[in-house]
Amino acid sequence: MRKENIGLVVLLLLLIAVPFIAEMTGQLSLIRLVGQILIFGIAASSLNFILGYGGMISFGHAAFFGVGGYVVGVMYHHFDQGTAFLGIIPGTDQMLVTLPLAIVVAGLAAALVGALSLRTSGVQFIMITLAFAQMFFFLVVSLKTYGGEDGIMVRRTNDLPFLNMRDKATLYWVIVCVTAVYFLAMRRLVHSSFGAIIAGIRQNERRMAALGISTYRYKLVAFVLSGMGAGLAGALMVNFLRFASPDMMHWTRSGELMIMVILGGVGTVIGPFIGAAALVALETNIARWTEHWHLYIGLILLVVVLATKGGILGLIRKVGGRK
């Protein structure tokens, strides 16, 4: 086995052991912390695919995260009320239904946004993705049926057959499994020929076009895949926190996802997860000793952006002597 794979297996075992560690040390908040890191890691990793590999700076990625979350929330709401969405689609609390549905709906949203946004580039692309995210944000804020500004409480986590999902540790292990599968899929994706074309478009779009590749179509597919990943993360997050709110789609959330990608190191598979871990851990720890934690996050981010290339992962590699 390669050295990298051994590291990943050790990491996976550690992640599986987290609920036991939490119980032994009495720090039950650890499960919540690590769970959030994994979910944000999925979201950041999906953003990294278009941002780091594809060079598409999307400033509206939180929209798809939120869409995925709201699918779970809305389905639960109708299940709880015994009503049907738009009068035809009945609600459900089955995770085997809600997760795929969240991925599909987020993918559709990304297809719509991407098809229009990818006609622009540069600054205009950044701003138009932000604009679409804002539209989604204000849309959910204005829907009184689904809580408006307050969002939707999901009183019970979605069910999976044969599992007791009300148990926090069980839900956590489900998240670990989903993350592991997602990670492996992402690794295959970036090393596939499709991933190579996406990276080629980032490096030189005109050359790829000259090679006979329809760059718009490839970028759109990448954008949709990325939106689907964010939708998955959103759906998991709503299950984990049992709450869906417009805050999931706020534009500062998109900024945070970008920060995670940058902190961890752009254009690597594991980087966004490291970035998510760093940001979530920083937030929790700094928030514990000062209410002005935004100031410190801001300073750290500024230093990372101005002074490092390749984020934390780049730093580790530099110290480790590898390229």
């Binding site: 205009q124 829907l143 981010l301």
Partner: protein
């Protein structure tokens, strides 16, 4: 009718505020190629300092120049200390670094002025209102804001089209490398442009402070609308910023004022209120998407 005129004037007043912010932002964008998300922070700093000094001294007229001076100074410090390092970077680094600046400036305001919003009274001579139409008294202060905004627009027009600095600014927006090759001290030009942008943002903040509530986060609320103005108007075009600013200011205000009422004709009152305000918030973003789909570089892009 009276109501429509009143809302149009409110829209105009919001529009000139947007223009003051967008004019600086579009120049910074167009000339230095920097996406400055923290431009709204300068607006906030202007509002905080201006209001605080006005409260301490008891006069709006002392708060105004002090607020302007402090904002311009912060702008220069920001350019020299941080923004300058971003010129050669890609957009991603710029977005993140200026996003970090937003976090830093917001917390700095909390540390200095506290979390409670600051409130001021209108300066004495502006506290009344004039009847501009039969049955429509309108606050003098808002008219003052509109007039100042239009005067600044005129001043900027003269500065950019008739002076040597303006010529360099226009040249810089069209072709940066060529200006540099012709021996212009581009570094100093950048600092001047950034300071000018900061000054305009500070002015917008100080003038808005008696109308809106001066609090942390006020910068973010308006900066997104400002970016919409800049992108619709065309990056680097002050003329575009002016037209798009006034247009968007009015459209946004009209939607907010009338859409909930129109919707209330079809549906339940509180639902109409929520949906109406949500959809009107979407309005400007929808416009930006439409404009970009038809003209991907905005209406009056410089250097096109």
């Amino acid at each position: 009718m009276v109501l429509i005129v009143e809302q149009l004037l409110n829209g105009l007043q919001y529009g000139v505020t947007l223009f003051l912010l967008a004019a600086g932002l579009t120049l910074i964008f167009g000339i230095m190629g920097v996406i400055n998300l923290a431009h709204g922070a300068l607006y906030m700093i202007g509002a905080f300092v201006g209001t605080w000094v006005a409260l301490q001294s008891g006069s709006f007229w002392i708060g105004l120049p002090v607020g302007l001076a402090v904002t311009a100074a912060v702008g220069v410090a920001m350019e020299v200390g941080i923004i300058r390092r971003l010129y050669a970077r890609d957009h991603l680094d710029q977005v993140l670094a200026t996003f970090a600046l937003i976090l830093i400036f917001n917390e700095a305001m909390v540390l200095i002025f506290g979390r409670r919003p600051l409130r001021t009274n209108l300066p004495e001579i502006f506290s009344g209102s004039v009847e501009i139409m039969p049955g429509l008294p309108y606050p003098i202060y808002r008219l003052f804001v509109i007039v100042v905004g239009l005067l600044v627009a005129l001043g900027l027009y003269i500065l950019i089209n008739k002076t040597r600095v303006g010529m360099l600014v226009r040249a810089g927006a069209t072709n940066r490398a060529m200006v540099q090759a012709l021996g212009v001290d581009i570094g100093r030009l950048y600092t001047v442009v950034f300071a000018l942008g900061a000054l305009l943002a500070g002015l917008a903040g100080i003038m808005a402070s008696p109308i809106v509530s001066v609090q942390v986060g006020m910068g973010e609320e308006i900066i997104l609308a400002t970016f919409v103005v800049v992108v619709i108007g065309g990056v680097g075009s002050v003329k575009g910023a002016f037209i798009a600013g006034l247009l968007l200011g009015m459209i946004d205000t009209m939607l907010r004022a009338f859409l909930p009422r129109v919707l209330a004709g079809f549906m339940d009152g509180s639902d109409a209120q929520a949906l109406g305000s949500g959809v009107s918030s979407m309005g400007i973003y929808l416009m930006m998407a439409l404009v970009l789909l038809i003209r991907p570089r905005g209406l009056f892009a410089a250097g096109a």
